[in-house]
């Protein structure tokens, strides 16, 4: 497994883990992203990092802190955002128009080769676009920043059929279980995996390493059960209008044709909250102001979030995220 290594100086913990060249490369990358959006008249916005509500997704965990100086005298729990999605959609509901943000996002989870609990996210929204139009724009951004040829585009069903000869939308749970063992994915412990976990393992371990090797690969049409905040597809409601981008084995971005139905969104939140309780995960407060904004009306739009640190890793051919972050969590 690759490790970040440097001079002896780099082993002193006051020192950045990123080289001076990579710190410079980050500055250049941020500048070219801002130029890209300025040319397209997409406005840069800022939204809070601290929020009263948080994400309900059972696979995301937020950092929280106590605010002891609220005007009503009560101590309040505030969450560090896991993505600026809700706040940016509130801006869209307020008719702010096409907008982007480069901000820190926080996830209370382990560090790893591709993960730091605090990371930089580029998120943007395009009113009037569907997810395919947004993929076109993202493709242009990747061509510009990574100096690569145009991306491939494949459906989730297609990549499963090509790589594993399995139809992910029709295959029984037993077929998926068999596929895991045929592909030597050996899970510790006896607790059964749910269908989405099995699909995600097959995808992460066997599909991600082979797609998008020479040019980025957009994968769209994820199963409806993994819709997150995407609309379901009108022609095939077994799938959601959600896409991800993979390049050289890295998950680089996640985008949606955004769900604008407030009732459906409330149902998904409630469903998550029930699942969290069943799994004995810490309870979270959903973002009521976001739901109120959706009730007011979200324009038809598509949005995407891209991991800037990972983009920079690809650009600088780094094999550990610590090579592109000045002070990762272990030195923060």
């Amino acid at each position: 497994m690759p490790h970040w290594r440097g001079s002896d100086l780099m082993h002193q913990t006051w020192h950045p883990t990123a080289s001076a060249a990579n710190i410079r490369a980050r500055a250049d990358l941020l500048q070219s992203i801002r130029r890209f959006f300025a040319q397209r008249e997409v406005m840069e916005v800022e939204t809070p990092l601290l929020s009263h509500g948080s994400v309900t997704d059972i696979h995301l965990s937020a950092f929280s802190t106590q605010f002891a100086h609220a005007s009503d005298g009560k101590v309040k729990t505030l969450y560090l955002q896991t993505s600026p999605e809700y706040a940016m959609k509130r801006l869209l509901c307020a008719q702010i128009g096409a907008c982007y943000q480069i901000s820190k996002a926080f996830r209370h989870e382990a560090e790893g080769r591709w993960h730091n609990p605090e990371f930089t996210m580029l998120e943007w929204y395009r009113p009037g676009f569907d997810h395919h139009q947004l993929m076109d724009e993202m493709d242009e951004l990747l061509q510009l920043t990574l100096e690569v040829e145009g991306a491939q585009r494949k459906s989730y069903q297609q990549v499963f059929e090509e790589v594993l000869t399995i139809d992910p939308l029709c295959a029984s749970d037993n077929t998926l279980r068999r596929a895991l063992s045929e592909h030597d994915i050996d899970i510790h412990g006896d607790a059964p995996l749910d269908r989405d976990a099995m699909l995600q393992l097959l995808f992460s371990f066997r599909i991600e390493p082979v797609i998008g090797q020479n040019v980025p690969c957009f994968v769209y049409g994820f199963p409806a059960s993994q819709a997150a905040l995407a609309k379901l597809n009108e022609q095939d409601p077994r799938t959601a209008d959600r896409f991800e981008v993979y390049f050289k084995g890295v998950e680089l971005a996640n985008g949606f044709n955004e769900l604008s139905d407030a009732r459906e969104q409330r149902l998904r939140f409630n469903n998550d909250i029930e699942q969290r309780a069943a799994l004995q995960l810490p309870p979270v407060e959903h973002d009521e102001r976001f739901l109120q904004a959706l009730e007011h009306g979200l324009p038809q739009c598509a949005g995407v979030a891209l991991g800037v640190d990972r983009l920079l890793m690809l650009k600088t051919q780094s094999d550990h995220i610590n090579q592109v972050i000045s002070f990762p969590i272990c030195r923060a």
Binding site: A110, H188, G189
Partner: protein, 189 residues
């Protein structure tokens, strides 16, 4: 023995798996943006020597294995057990054939070996990376060949057979890399 959570996984950590002590070789945290987190771990089973890949759910805990490496000098074999001694405390310990395995062919008296103990019992014996052994039998070879092209088999005092250059003769002591089983050079006199 302590339990370890997947957050503590790293190369060199010893854990119990299927009742067997194991050494973690590599650990990678895998977390799709919209999915469950896993740790993908390469593991060597310390008794069978098998290397395998196992996937853990992140946050899971596993039992640690009480595994310790010690440096001991090889003394002798009584035919059933192989006896080693700590040169500082003079404490002796016996390893069975299973623990020694194929490495028996590199064991030379007084050489310092690494003995891996699990709950105090030897489970593997690792010889030094380089050992010097006498050739007990090899074909005389062609006079004047110093290029060492092709080479020839030579039997060593421990019974090991290695390929040596043609110019090396019976009775000479040679240096062998035990990890690859390859001839390195004639021993320094």
């Amino acid at each position: 023995m302590a339990n370890y959570s997947t957050n503590e996984f790293k190369g060199g950590l010893k854990i119990m798996l299927d009742g067997e002590p194991c050494n973690i070789l590599e650990n990678e945290y895998v977390k799709p943006g919209k999915g469950q987190a896993f740790n993908r771990v390469r593991i060597r089973k310390l008794i069978s020597g098998k290397v395998l890949e196992k996937t853990f759910r992140s946050g899971e805990t596993v039992e640690g294995a009480d595994v310790l490496d010690t440096e001991l000098a090889y003394l002798y074999t009584d035919g059933e057990f192989y006896h080693f001694m700590n040169n500082e405390t003079f404490e002796q310990i016996a390893a069975d054939e299973k623990a020694v395995g194929d490495n028996v062919k590199w064991l030379k008296e007084n050489d310092i070996c690494t003995i891996t103990l699990w709950n105090g019992t030897p489970i593997t014996v690792t010889p030094p990376n380089f050992v010097e052994l006498e050739i007990t039998e090899t074909d005389p070879g062609l006079k004047g060949d110093t290029a060492g092209t092709g080479g020839k088999p030579a039997t060593l005092s421990t019974g090991a057979v290695v390929r040596v250059p043609l110019f090396v003769q019976t009775g000479e002591v040679i240096k062998v890399d035990t990890r690859s089983g390859e001839y390195v050079s004639r021993a320094q006199k």
